[in-house]
Amino acid sequence: MTDAMIGLVALPLTGALATLLLPRSATAVAVGTGLATTVAAGLLLFGVATQGALHYEIGGWNAGLGIALRADGLSALLLMMTSLVVLAASVYASAYFSADSTRDRFWPLWLLLWTSLNALLLSGDLFNLYVTLELLGLSAVALAALGGKRAAVAAALRYLLVGLLGSMMFLAGVSLIYAGYGTLDLAMLRRVVEPGPIAWTALALMTTGLLLKTALFPLHFWLPPAHASAPAPVSAVLSALVVKAAFYLVLRLWLDVFANVVTPVAANLLGLLGASAVLWGSWRALQAERLKLLAAYSTVAQLGYLFLFFPLLLALPPGPTRDLAAGGLVMLALTHGFAKAGLFLAIGIIQQRCGHDTIRDLDGTAQHLPATTFAIALAGVALIGLPPSGAFLGKWQLLAGAVETGQWLWLLVTATGSLLATAYIFRVLGHAFGHRPYPNQPVTVAREEWPALLLAAMAALVLGLAGAPVWKLLEIGI
């Protein structure tokens, strides 16, 4: 089972090299590697479920000296989500990219991005996290600029500079930790770290760097243009996974490694930033002219919800209610991943089929692409957090946590955010009802519509109805 861990990194990396060396059969090789990696992720999830947290020392050196890969419930779940989303997006991309030149440049970068995501979710060493963050940043930027249009290149450039700034801050934090505690391994660090100037400053630096990469509210300016101008499968993965990987690190640092260093004041600050992200993101999404901008601002808002959990998790004493809230957080993160990827893929179909994605004149399009509109509707249900989506369970726990700890502000913000989300989703869906004739068969572009539909259905139905194991898995800590 531990070989699955190294497989998760080695397989996409080998795939990347293979697609680089054999451009002609790149698509087949890429989708093949994707399937293999998804199987590895499944094996890992099964391994973690049966044997608890897994541990793999690379090069045979013990964790202090060498680098250790670790997988607990949280990372195994995120890895599974990542694999499913990227696999679906790969199938979509195989039909989406028509020009051969972009396609054979796309696949190596795509699989390198996948490698960095898996490496980041598995890594148990601080400096290794820095290198995976860099790999993630560079491959995401290269993919975002793939379109070659001026807007895409400008947005990608700003994204790269912000990413570099974030990584440098993260590295400064890592250096402080090494200076103070002499170790880089997360497991050893958790035992050794105690509140003090070193830990506070290092955590502040690392968190600021990561918040730049997660695009939390004041630092979110780079996200909408970058995600809106990138090609559809790329913006799907950017919004659903890349920003979430940085969020995963903040979660890992705050709740696991630096658990006893974190102060409620700092957590409330994060909560406030999250709350403003929810309101600002939803408000801008409501006014967005184009579907892609709407989806990008919706990402800013949805990440705000995730940060609302920090003050709750800090205030709740360790126990069943805290595990429920933590499960709610993960459920919200997973559902947003699937729903946002599905939404972006569906928007990509509309943009490709009708040449534009401006919401105002969407009327005709929504009728003759019923399956795409249905995917947008399902993804919308999951983004708003209506039942039977996984986000409903997530938001339920968020509200329950807010009531339990008496932090009513988060409750109000969640309620307003959900209503705003309803407004901007149904503003789009309102166009689905018009006089245009209904095509005879609902699914028009199979290879592109099925991935979008399945991802959206995963978020809106499967996670909502079959979500109970998520809580059981989360009990498996490192």
């Binding site: 080695a10 990396l13 793999y56 090069g59 045979g60 000296l65 290794n128 860099e134 560079l138 070659g148």
Partner: protein, 332 residues
């Protein structure tokens, strides 16, 4: 070199480093900023030497100051000198709006605060006894690592996974550059003096690269420094307007680009098949495997850094040759 003169040397060095950094960032002319930055990089290499980090000094000189400087200078060349000056000046001579000044002060205060907290935390860290668990572990396991230079041991054995991902980062950067389009046009063919210098310099650079690669096992050196030196040779050839700068074509180029990560993966996976964990070299084989990986990494690093300088997928040899001939007619 008693303590006081060392202190004087440190003070001088650090003042000039900070001075250069300030000058480079404060200058409004990009070309001047870049050149100051290269000087800053070189002095930095001296600082690493002073702090007994020769490997890093070599890398800083070759990559930090050398290649980054070359890349930056090439980028400056791209903007026609006129435009960069007009671009920078108009908003300078107009009286800066109040908001801009306030913003600058705000940012400066913010950065000062950051420096303060960083220093405060650092002093705490340095005041406590230095943690020696890791250095001791490295020296204990040095024999088993197959190389005697501890830095190479860490890079290629203890934390080999980091280096694998780092080579992947390099590959991603180049693939990203490829995705943006064709390579830039070459340079004017060099005059006789430069041409003579190139004729001597390139072989020496290649020889040094080979030496650096070999010596890395037991003395400062290694794949990165060797790769950078090899790339420097290519850059010199490129600056001399040569069309053939040592880069293979088509499929061979893809092989060389992928060699670094490829060999690393190959070794790791075969070890996995032999029942050992990923990248866990058997002690008997360790030094040979490390040398194999370093050679592939050197070629890969040289190719990728050179491609980054060239700025994209070089057209096939025929095209550059024709372009050169056509340029020669114009210049005559």
């Amino acid at each position: 070199m008693n303590a006081t003169s060392l202190l004087v040397f440190d003070g001088l060095l650090l003042c000039s480093i900070v001075g250069l950094a300030w000058a480079s960032l404060a200058s409004h002319d990009e070309r001047r900023g870049v050149i100051l930055f290269i000087a800053f990089g070189l002095l930095l290499a001296v600082a690493w030497g002073r702090l007994l980090a020769p490997d890093v000094a070599l890398a800083e000189a070759a990559i930090g100051a050398g290649l980054s400087g070359a890349l930056l200078l090439a980028a400056v060349r791209k903007q026609s000198p006129g435009s960069s000056r007009t671009h920078a000046n108009p908003d300078r001579n107009r009286s800066e709006s109040g908001a801009k000044v306030v913003l600058q002060w705000l940012v400066t205060l913010l950065c000062a605060a950051l420096a303060g907290t960083l220093a405060w935390a650092l002093l705490h860290a340095l005041s406590s006894t230095p943690h020696d668990t890791l250095p001791r572990a490295i020296s204990d396991n040095l024999v088993a690592s197959g190389v005697s230079n501890p830095v190479t041991a860490v890079l290629l054995n203890f934390r080999a996974y980091d280096t694998l991902l780092e080579l992947a980062v390099l590959l991603t950067a180049v693939l990203g550059i490829f995705a943006l389009g064709q390579a830039t046009a070459g340079y004017q063919p060099a005059g006789p003096v430069f041409d003579g210098l190139v004729r001597w310099l390139v072989p020496v650079l290649i020889l040094t690269a080979g030496y650096l690669l070999w010596v890395g096992a037991h003395a400062p050196g290694g794949a990165f420094q060797a790769g950078a030196t090899l790339a420097a040779a290519g850059v010199v050839l490129r600056l001399a307007g040569r069309s053939r700068i040592g880069l293979p074509d088509g499929f061979a180029l893809r092989i060389v680009m992928a060699a670094g990560v490829g060999v690393f993966l190959l070794v790791g996976l075969t070890l996995l098949l032999l029942g050992r964990s990923f990248l866990d070299y058997p002690p008997a084989w360790a030094s040979a495997l490390i040398l194999l990986i370093e050679t592939a990494a050197m070629l890969s690093i040289a190719a990728t850094l050179l491609l980054a300088f060239v700025g994209g997928q070089p057209q096939s040899a025929g095209v550059t040759a024709a372009a050169n001939r056509q340029r020669e007619e114009i210049s005559r």
